[in-house]
């Protein structure tokens, strides 16, 4: 019977651990902390590309910032030997994402590209995904936002504007991935090549500290970066299997 077949097939396909390795793509981002200057161009580009609301000064003071990618800053030492360390933090698109299992309405799930997607239409705003995320990269729309004229003309028509009560986070610019896949289909190619798609943050980084690609493609830049000896994952011990690889900054002892 049709349902029984579907049942058995579904159970079999998703049974073994690591079934996500068989998905179409495995989008990965590498962030080279040696090259990152903390300029924040990625943050601005993301805000422009994804219609991220400008929350305003009062909301910011209450702690409700909206940045899908944020530059975390850590100070070490005291003046005059103070050192600033920073790390761009964005949704890690974990293969074993803790946020996905907890959504009661399945508004977040792992799609066939290996992306952790957020479905705005389905979200009812329980905010448990934000609690479960150890990287705290999920942001909630506490209000309906509006853009003062003429800023609304800058909004990206490929991306929805989220209403209040909905959770959002970095999507690896899924609208660009989708567009690149469409172009690849038009060109008769079935598979995306390295460099076909770049999220806004990767595109805007002046030092090329951010790289983006498919780690299943062994000729891609990210594949090489991933296997650099400096490569690590943030909070690796939690076994979330993130898709963002950081390259450790080499400390200089010139002082």
């Amino acid at each position: 019977m049709n349902f029984i077949d579907r049942f058995v097939a579904g159970w079999a396909k998703y049974r073994k651990p690591g079934y996500y390795e068989d998905f179409d793509y495995a989008w990965t981002m590498t962030i080279d902390l040696d090259r990152s200057s903390g300029c924040g161009a990625c943050v601005t580009a993301c805000q422009a590309e994804n219609n991220i609301p400008i929350v305003g000064e009062e909301e910011l003071r209450k702690g409700r910032e909206m940045q899908w990618i944020r530059i975390e800053r850590y100070w070490e030492g005291e003046y005059p030997n103070a050192k600033l360390k920073f790390i761009p933090m964005l949704c890690q698109h974990c293969d074993a994402a803790p946020c996905e299992t907890v959504c009661p309405v399945s508004a977040t799930y792992h799609n066939q590209d290996g992306l952790n997607t957020q479905i705005y239409n389905r979200c009812i705003g329980t905010r448990s995904c934000a609690v479960y995320c150890p990287y705290e990269v999920r942001y909630f729309n506490y209000y309906d936002h509006h853009w003062d004229a003429p800023l609304e003309q800058q909004l990206n028509p490929d991306v929805t504007v989220r209403e209040k009560g909905v959770m959002e986070k970095c999507t690896f610019c899924v609208q660009r991935i989708r567009q690149a896949k469409d172009h690849a289909k038009d060109d008769g190619r079935r598979r995306l090549r390295d460099g076909d798609v770049q999220p806004a943050c990767v595109q805007s980084c002046p030092t090329e500290a951010l790289n983006f690609g498919d780690r299943k493609d062994s000729s891609s830049k990210v594949y090489r970066s991933m296997h650099d000896p400096r490569a690590y994952h943030v909070l690796e011990e939690l076994n979330t299997l993130p898709s963002v690889v950081y390259l450790k900054k080499v400390e200089t002892h010139a002082d």
Binding site: F3, R6, F7, G10, W11, Y14, R15, K16, P17, G18, Y19, Y20, C94, D95, A96, A97, P98, C99, E100, T101, C103, S106, T108, Y109, H110, L241
Partner: protein, 170 residues
């Protein structure tokens, strides 16, 4: 039109004795009405079988299987891989199964109770409002005047404060 002899007693022991005497005298099953459950009824009037047990069991089994089928079936109907976990997993689905087992066990128990106690009562049944306060009543169905007077005599001999003739079913 059957009539019922109803005897009111002031304490449960005499009411129970009267019911026993009526049963021994050949009357069809006498009924005891009381504001609190009377102890020792089964010794005098015979054991009672409760079919509620079976309702609970089948309800719980149905709930258990149904709960798992709900969780596992819907997981396959619209496949949503989450968290790298298999789409049909036991730890969360066992919890759903557990809750549904208890829910349907509870609902089946209620159904069993209603069916075996013949609730809700659609037609009027033999009743004396005093039995909800502090009196104990024994009632028995009588076919004709003779049986009624025999029943009344037995009740009075057992110490009934009052004997009534109630016609059932209107």
């Amino acid at each position: 039109m059957s009539s019922n002899a109803l005897g009111l007693f002031g304490d449960p022991v005499s009411a129970l004795a009267a019911a026993g005497t009526l049963k021994d005298a050949g009357f069809a099953r006498p009924e005891l009405m009381s504001p609190i459950p009377i102890h020792g009824v089964e010794e005098v009037l015979g054991p009672k079988k409760s079919v509620i047990r079976r309702f609970t069991l089948f309800g719980a089994i149905f709930g258990g299987l149904g709960g798992f089928a709900l969780a596992a079936g819907t997981a396959v109907l619209y496949v949503h891989p989450t968290g790298g976990r298999p789409i049909i997993t036991f730890p969360p689905f066992l919890i759903i199964t557990y809750e549904m087992t208890i829910l349907f066990g509870i609902l089946a128990t209620v159904l069993g109770f209603l069916i075996s106690a013949r609730f809700p009562a659609i037609r009027e049944r033999v009743y004396a409002p005093e039995t909800a306060v502090d009196k104990f009543a024994v009632t028995v169905t009588c076919d004709n005047e003779d049986t009624f007077s025999r029943a009344a005599a037995i009740l009075r001999a057992a110490g009934a404060e009052e004997v009534r003739n109630i016609r059932e079913g209107e």
